[in-house]
């Protein structure tokens, strides 16, 4: 089930909220657990059973870790950790591995294996984080299995994050009473996130597809990359906003996942703004255990390359994702050891422009299906093809309005406008804000319904 569907918003969500706030407090935890599993089982019962199995395994392991010590404790921890990593790698990469084996004729039988369970990349990180925190003794002494199960399966964050920590989540379970301010905030965030996803992200996806279909030119390559950059940002940010909004509606807070990443003035700054919970997870569970930066410079470089190679691989099994991850690893190393003095001397605007250019180059690897395609596109971006074509100019012209809105919404301009209006309009501000939210919701509904049009039915000829 996806958040941006008619069924979820107008049937599932009202039923879920109504029952949640009607039930006595002592039943809320169990109710959320049931609802979360129902959400995940929707469309595929087996993946919910798999999640249940993994959750049970980790809860039991944590209980055992509390009662063990010394080598046996470490062995148990390593065994379960290896199993987690194996399960994640198996589901994410078996398709790519099989294709390689078929291509090299090392495998004759075309085995039909199950699809990767939706959201496994996210909830597996929650499970691994829970396991590692337990091993480190960072979890509260008193543990509740239901609370742990809900932490893993909580449906607003289950499929695409944000990746939050066990302690942050479980603390909130002590008070599940209705919080009107949080509810109001959640409604706003959900509407804004929905608009970012169904209006902006889907529009930029269409622009990207249209430009992809045109012969490569410099303008087309840059336009395509800009379209993809905006599509990916609004898709992911939109979903994160909806996830945070849904959590707020249920009385929970979630960590932020994005903070205007395209305003970053360095690559390090970019990764403090883009998919924040993921980079913090890799920092806390991979980078710091490897020694972080408190090692020799050679070891530090190795640590960075390991973390960023893993970050790339986490995003996908294709070689382009690995190159994308390593690309950022190299940039961060260069920033740390070579460019830093120069960055300090350059004006902020200059640093911003260079950083944005580097980010765009990185996205080319991200969306290309192969390294050769990425090189071809990069070549066009930097002059190997014609500058522009009437077709590309025409396509970009049609999307000029949306591009302008997208660029504005990717900056804090709307937030600044909101602040100024709040300061100068006083009580009229709330009416205006309500009108804007209502209008935005109506637009979202129009796009949601319009996107459910079944085109094949019109081919009735």
């Amino acid at each position: 089930m996806s958040f941006d569907t008619i069924f979820f918003i107008f049937t599932w969500l009202p039923c879920c909220l109504l029952l949640y706030y009607v039930l006595p407090k002592r039943w809320k935890l169990g109710y959320l657990l049931v609802v979360s599993y129902l959400f995940y089982a929707w469309g595929n019962l087996y993946r919910a059973l798999f999640l249940l199995f993994l959750t049970g395994l980790h809860i039991q392991t944590v209980k055992l870790l509390d009662n063990l010590s010394g080598k046996s404790r470490m062995v148990l921890f390593v065994e379960v950790l290896v199993f987690d990593v194996f399960a994640l790698c198996f589901f994410k990469y078996y398709g790519t591995i099989l294709n390689e084996l078929f291509a090299r004729e090392l495998l004759q039988v075309n085995a039909q294996l199950p699809n990767a369970p939706l959201g496994i990349s996210f909830y597996m990180f929650s499970l691994i984080g829970y396991l590692i925190d337990s091993y480190r003794g960072q979890l509260p002494a008193k543990k509740n299995s239901f609370q742990a199960a809900l932490y893993i399966a909580f449906f607003p964050k289950l499929l695409m994050g944000p990746i939050c920590r066990y302690q942050q989540f479980v603390q909130q379970l002590e008070d599940l009473s209705f919080q009107p301010r949080l509810f109001d905030t959640g409604a706003s965030r959900f509407i804004i996130g929905l608009a970012q996803k169904v209006v902006l992200a889907n529009t930029f996806a269409r622009l990207f597809q249209q430009l992809q279909a045109t012969p490569l030119t410099m303008l087309g390559a840059w336009g395509m990359t800009l379209a993809f950059a905006l599509q990916l940002y609004f898709d992911f940010q939109g979903y994160s906003q909806m996830a945070i909004g849904l959590s707020n509606l249920l009385g929970f807070t979630m960590p932020e996942n994005f903070h205007y990443p395209y305003l970053a003035c360095s690559i390090k700054d970019f990764w403090n703004r883009w998919h924040i919970t993921l980079s913090h997870w890799f920092r806390d569970y991979v980078y710091f255990p490897l020694g972080g930066s408190r090692v020799s410079w050679q070891r530090h470089i190795l640590n960075l390359m390991i973390v960023w190679a893993l970050t790339g691989l986490w995003h996908g099994a294709n070689l382009t994702f690995l190159v994308w991850g390593c690309y950022y690893g190299v940039l961060l190393i260069l920033e740390k050891y070579i460019w830093y003095p120069l960055q300090q001397k350059l004006p902020k605007g200059c640093n911003w422009a260079i950083t944005l250019c580097l980010i765009m180059i990185g996205w080319v690897f991200f969306y290309s299906s192969s390294l050769s395609q990425a090189c071809q596109i990069l070549g066009s971006m930097f002059g190997s093809a014609n500058v522009a074509s009437p077709l590309v100019v025409s396509v970009l012209g049609q999307y000029a309005g949306f591009l302008l809105i997208g660029i504005v919404c990717a900056t804090p301009l709307m937030e600044a406008l909101d602040f100024l209006l709040n300061m100068y309009l006083n009580r009229w501000y709330y009416l205006l804000r309500l009108a804007v939210m209502f209008g935005l919701l109506l637009i979202c509904i129009a796009f949601l319904v319009g996107n459910t049009y079944q085109s094949f039915l019109y081919f009735a000829f």
Binding site: F10, P14, A187, V395, Y458
Partner: protein, 370 residues
Amino acid sequence: MKHHHYGTGILFCCLLMLSLLVQLIMPDVLFSKEENRRLATLPQPTLRSAADGSYAKQLEVYHADQFLNRYRWMKLQTRILLAMGQTKLQDITITKEGLLQEVAPLSNDVNGRQSADSINAFQEAHADLQLSFLMVPNAIGIYKERLHTPAVMDQEQLFYQFYELLDDRIQTLDTFQLLTDHKEEELFYRSDHHWTTLAASYAASMYLQQKLDYQVVVSNTHFQGTLAHQLAYDQFEDHLSLFLMQNDPDYVVDYGSEGKKTTTVYDMEKQMDSDAYAVYFGGNHPLIHISTTSQEDKRLLVFKDSYANCFLPFLLPYYSEITILDPRYYYEDINQLILDSQISDVLFLYNMNTFFSDHSLYELLSASVE
């Protein structure tokens, strides 16, 4: 200290609860006049469908279909996109003169070579029959200068390239040049993907090599066709006219396994429907057989899509029997049909959007020559 206002939360909550109430109270709508299709009804769950996810999908489609004022929301989306400067929505370009649709060709047969080979093989297998191929370009091919961005497929180039692939024994009709010569006239509906009966009359005259004598009767002056409904865009209205041949013989139309027989090719009940083009034959059918009192001893088999529906009435005076077959819905043995109906002539009539994006003709002909 400023007070926090809870307007958005209250509004959101009220809207959600209201939508739930509406869903519980309002009965299901079974058919959408505007979209011209049946809408999904509440699916019945089974253990299997619940486990494999099909019930979940059906339920989501049901909710989308039954959403209150669905067509109005589609209209709103179209208006917003147009206001933002978009002129191409889905596969349809909106121009001042009308709506132009381009359907992407099948990726595994972009130039129609497989279809051409199957038609040539059919000619080989039925060398005693006179085969004709009448491909009709779409509005997007004739009026490409109206497009804001070039079409993905150049219909003119594709048209002539495809004709080159056909066997020399197959008579091909240059409808591209024919329609281009008449392009200042109303050859295509502005709101529908079909050609007009006027355009069909020119093509019929070329096919029959005769000047046609007919009377024009306007059937519907507020016709809004498939493209208008697809986009929920009601700025264009068309006139749908019937061209009644003066030398029409008497005839009987047999709709085969549907068990219906009529003495007219027009279904007048459909003329004011949202799909008024269905006035011709009531829409599409797998097999239609027309027996006429014409003195011509020629029996025609037509493989067609819906473009043929307004074309075929012009042929009635010139054939004693016309068998009309739509490969998308027909699954029987066409060789037996040819024998039983004593076919002497075969006509293939397709519009380019359908022909290059649908493989049912190729599959039917390939099965017949195996």
